[in-house]
């Protein structure tokens, strides 16, 4: 069996909900094909047997929230030829990055019976704040077709095709009526990286921005327009401070609107 010739894939988890790893498992049809094409060397959620490093590709889920994490990611970087972050937590700090604007000690005291047992960093940060990342895959969770596209591209030695334009392009391609224009819903789609297929607007919801900022986000322009159309500054802070709120374009926007009188 050609175990040694197949590229070794490893999947690591940090602070996250496991949803992106589940996206990998939910590939179903392609999973067997994938297991044939790569050696799944480390993937605790799927397989208890592990193989030692080095790894050809490391998929990393989750954000860095403990001192221990920040050491472990350095080791993983050393062990992996290519490091790909998967999902909003690994790529932007995730929903848990909401703490970055609050006092974490206060949370620990409020939530845990023995706060002394809790060791945590003040901020939840993306992997790229700690080590160089070769490729970032957005989404909360990642889109499984995009995940497969990245793995296929890496296996075949070509660039993955993951457009960074707005979600609006995806709305229009699928014929969705714009919820912002037709219903006055505050939608983050014009600022948000494509990739989900514009799911939320197709269900009459505004985009939550879970794929992070698009390639050239003009947050000031959209938020100023929304404010003019009657959306309160506090609502705009909530809108931009979501699953990828710590990503730079959203972070600067929410901090700016937070200071509005």
């Amino acid at each position: 069996m050609g175990a040694s010739t197949r590229p070794k894939l490893a999947v690591f988890k940090f602070s996250s909900c496991d949803g992106c790893q589940l996206a990998l498992l939910s590939l179903e049809d392609e999973l067997l094909e994938l297991a044939g094409a790569v050696e799944i060397a480390y993937f605790l959620e799927a397989r208890s047997q592990t193989l030692p490093p080095p790894y050809d590709v490391a998929l990393v889920e989750g954000s860095i929230t403990t001192a221990e994490d920040s050491k472990r990611i350095q080791e993983i970087r050393q062990q992996a030829k290519l490091l790909v972050t998967i999902g909003a937590c690994a790529t932007a700090g995730g929903i848990q990055a909401l703490r970055n604007w609050k006092d974490v000690d206060e949370f620990t005291r409020a939530v845990y019976a023995t706060p002394a047992y809790i060791e945590t960093l003040k901020q939840s940060t993306p992997i790229s704040a700690h080590v160089p990342v070769d490729f970032e895959l957005n989404g909360c969770p990642v889109n499984k077709a995009q995940l497969l596209e990245v793995l296929t591209a890496l296996l075949l030695g070509r660039a993955p095709h993951l457009p960074a334009h707005s979600v609006c392009v995806e709305c229009k391609r699928r014929g969705t009526v714009c919820v912002a224009v037709a219903q006055g819903i505050a939608c983050l789609g014009p600022l948000t990286h494509a990739g989900c297929g514009a799911i939320c607007p197709a269900f009459n919801r505004g985009c939550f921005g879970c794929f992070g900022p698009m390639e050239s986000p003009n947050a000031d322009a959209l938020l100023a327009h929304l404010e003019e159309s009657g959306h309160a500054a506090a609502e705009l802070v909530r809108l931009t401070r979501g699953f990828t709120g710590f990503a730079e374009a959203f972070r600067t926007a929410s901090e700016k609107w937070e200071k509005r009188p």
């Binding site: 793995l151 334009h165 707005s166 986000p217 959209l222 327009h225």
Partner: protein, 373 residues
């Protein structure tokens, strides 16, 4: 019942309920009918099977960056105007699989992926949209390179046009002489009055679809009421785009400060290009299985507002928002003319209504003209 079919060019009156028979005739002739329907708070273009599918009694309210569906005139089927969709969705689909290939025993075999398209009958095409189809004809059919996918859909197309009975504040077809009156290029054209349709027969195919309907030659009164309705619409149109100094005005003002100003408001979201019925740009996406033994190529709508669009070897030729907005406007209203012999705008107003921040191309041109170089 009229004994025979009307001749081409005839003006008729038709009871509104008789449109059902026209639809039935079209279906019997093998057409898939596409028309306006109320869905998701908008009047969209989708398959319709009968008169009941049409949004009778509903109309749209449009403004820059805003669209609402509100009650209209009760007995009217076509009280609405152009909406979020345009006919290019059907003639030039947003996503089209071009071909696939598979590798077996070391040899590649190719399969064409395009099934024969349906024969479409478009119900309720406005004058501006007829003009938009004619512009896309120039792009896809007239030049050296014909687009076979567009051609296949276009050649079998049946067009039932409608004269607009009202105009939106976003409409400016009058400036471009594309509307509101339908003047040609249709199979049937109707004007809706409160009680009847006044119909104009534009082709043999159009006449044929009036079989078994109770059409009558239009009375002078009906004909003049129909005329008056379109005249009224014409006089409602307030938005204006001066075209006499185009394309020169834009070519002379490529460094105008207004480009910087609009770049501060524009999101580069691409909505304007995608709702525009004349914009035609596409990209191709190749996909493969993990082993690289099955591949397929898909064509997708693209937009000059995306960074990939102007990414070339070594960098991006339009890295700034300013450069991308300028590309859009100067292509529509200047270089399109050099390329295809007409402007790339028909005045439908979609880019104004469906821009999430309400940028109005008519106002941008005006601002450039005010302080022109």
């Amino acid at each position: 019942m009229a004994p025979s079919l009307p001749r081409v060019g005839a003006r008729l009156t038709l009871a509104k309920s008789s449109l059902e028979q026209v639809f039935a005739n079209l279906r019997a002739a093998g057409f898939t009918l596409i028309g306006p329907r109320l869905r998701d708070a908008a009047l969209v273009l989708e398959e319709v099977t009968g008169l009941n599918d049409l949004p009778r009694g509903w109309r749209d309210q449009q403004a820059p960056g805003q669209y609402r569906v509100v009650p209209g005139q009760d007995s009217f089927y076509f009280d609405h105007l152009v909406g979020p969709h345009s006919w290019k969705q059907f003639l030039h689909p947003a996503r089209l699989k071009l071909f696939g290939a598979a590798k077996n025993n070391g040899t590649w075999s190719f399969q064409s992926a395009t099934a024969p398209p349906p024969r479409y009958a478009f119900i309720g095409v406005r004058a501006c949209d007829l003009a938009a189809i004619a512009r896309q004809d120039r792009v896809f059919l007239a030049g050296e390179f014909r687009d076979p996918h567009y051609a296949a859909r276009r050649e079998s197309l049946f067009l039932l046009a409608v004269n607009c009975g009202r105009a939106a504040p976003t409409c400016f077809c009058r400036s471009l002489q594309t509307g509101p009156r339908v003047t040609g290029g249709f199979d049937l054209a109707l004007t809706e009055l409160a009680d009847v349709f006044v119909l104009e027969v534009g082709s043999e195919a159009g006449a044929e679809m009036l079989r078994e309907t109770a059409w009558q030659p239009a009375t002078a009164l009906h004909a003049s009421r129909a005329e008056e309705a379109v005249r009224q619409t014409e006089s409602q149109i307030e938005r204006e785009l001066r075209t006499d100094d185009l394309p020169k005005l834009l070519y002379d003002n490529l460094e105008h400060p207004r480009w910087d100003e609009v770049a501060r408001r524009c999101l580069a979201c691409g909505n304007c290009t995608l709702v525009c019925p004349t914009c035609f740009c596409t990209t191709v996406e190749d996909a493969s299985n993990l082993a690289g033994t099955r591949v397929e190529r898909t064509r997708l709508w693209d937009s000059c507002f995306t960074l990939d669009f102007s990414h070339v070897h070594g960098g991006n030729s339009r890295p700034t928002l300013r450069a991308r907005y300028r590309q859009w406007l100067t292509h529509k209203l200047a270089s399109w003319k050099d390329q295809f012999g007409a402007l790339g705008c028909v005045g439908c107003g979609r880019c104004i209504t469906w821009c999430p921040v309400g940028i109005e191309l008519t106002e941008e041109v005006k601002a450039i003209r005010e302080k022109a170089a």
